[in-house]
């Protein structure tokens, strides 16, 4: 790594975006895909105690879970640097997630169509905090595909954006971020207009 790659432009304004969702939904993958630096993380092997708590239905091949938080970085211009924080999904980390929401631009809630209801928790946390967010369906190989209308119904979404993406591909993952920023900009303009 060149030393210049380690740093961000001194003129940049940071923008914090949270990536939320249940255990093994692809938060770490998303952060890794989008980040320009090797994500800095504190991922550790899950303990026996954790296995009793975490839901392992149909999640073969996943033997670790994020127990602290990992984050990545994306310099967008000399003026803008995006920080992506993948927040752990388990309820025992809610306090940490709430403090992360402070100062955040918004959140991306990842959904796995094999267990849509597992993302309600993250959506509720963001709604409670009144933090703008977008629901992003992360498609896994072999996960069921539903029509947008069906997903909206299952997720009880009104006019919130819903996007589909593949967290493993940069070109696809960025659509989640674009939808989020567009959503916030639209909201901002409506407020400006109403004034």
């Amino acid at each position: 790594m060149k030393s210049s790659d380690r740093y961000v432009p001194a003129t940049a304004r940071p923008v914090k975006v949270l990536v939320l969702g249940p255990f093994a939904v692809g938060k770490t993958t998303f952060v890794r895909t989008v980040s320009e630096i090797r994500p800095l993380s504190t991922e550790e092997r899950m303990t026996q105690a954790g296995q009793l708590v975490d839901d392992l239905r149909d999640l073969r091949g996943k033997d670790t879970t994020t127990v602290a938080m990992d984050f990545g970085r994306l310099t967008l211009s000399p003026e803008i640097v995006l920080y992506l924080f993948g927040a752990p999904g388990q309820p025992r980390f809610h306090g940490m997630v709430r403090s992360l929401m402070d100062g955040a631009l918004g959140g991306l809630v990842l959904v796995d169509t094999r267990r849509i209801d597992a993302s309600f928790d993250a959506m509720n946390l963001l709604e409670e905090a009144r933090l703008p967010h977008v629901v992003a369906v992360n498609h896994f190989d072999g996960s069921p595909r539903y029509r947008d209308a069906e997903l909206r119904d299952s997720l009880s979404l009104d006019d919130q954006p819903l996007v589909s993406m593949d967290a493993r591909r940069a070109g696809s993952a960025k659509h989640g971020l674009i939808a989020l920023v567009q959503h916030i900009l639209d909201h901002h303009r409506r407020l400006e207009h109403a004034r």
Binding site: S3, V8, P14, V15, L76, I80, G103, L105, L185, L191
Partner: protein, 119 residues
């Protein structure tokens, strides 16, 4: 001072790493706050951990979280050290952008959007 050697062995308590400083600026520091070092400030007299933070930040800007990760220190500890360096003028903090009711906010959001679309 041999704090870093002892820290790895788990010998030094958190309050000793921070020199027992009470919070001040700390409350305003976010995990994503960007830190820009002032190269004009003398480093003499700084505690070892503060010196490590300055050595890391002098070549370029980094966020509080990156400093914590690079120095392998908990975020809460780094915030205390950084707050001291902000108070002494060694570091200038830049808080993460949060939209406010201003034309600047709309402009900035638009720039973020355009940059993402160009990726």
């Amino acid at each position: 001072m041999t704090a870093s050697r002892h820290r790895r062995a788990g010998m030094i308590r958190s309050y000793a790493v921070t020199g027992g400083d009470a919070p001040g600026t700390r409350a305003g520091l976010d995990a994503a706050t960007l830190l820009v070092a002032d190269p004009g400030r003398p480093l003499t007299g700084l505690a070892a951990q503060s010196r490590r933070v300055m050595d890391l930040c002098l070549p370029g800007a980094l966020s509080v979280s990156e400093v914590a990760a690079h120095l392998q220190l908990p975020g809460a500890i780094v915030k205390v050290i950084v707050a001291g360096l902000v108070d002494s003028g060694h570091l200038a903090p830049r808080a993460p952008f949060v939209p406010a009711a201003s034309p600047y906010s709309a402009d900035f959001l638009m720039k973020v959007l355009k940059a993402l679309e160009k990726l």
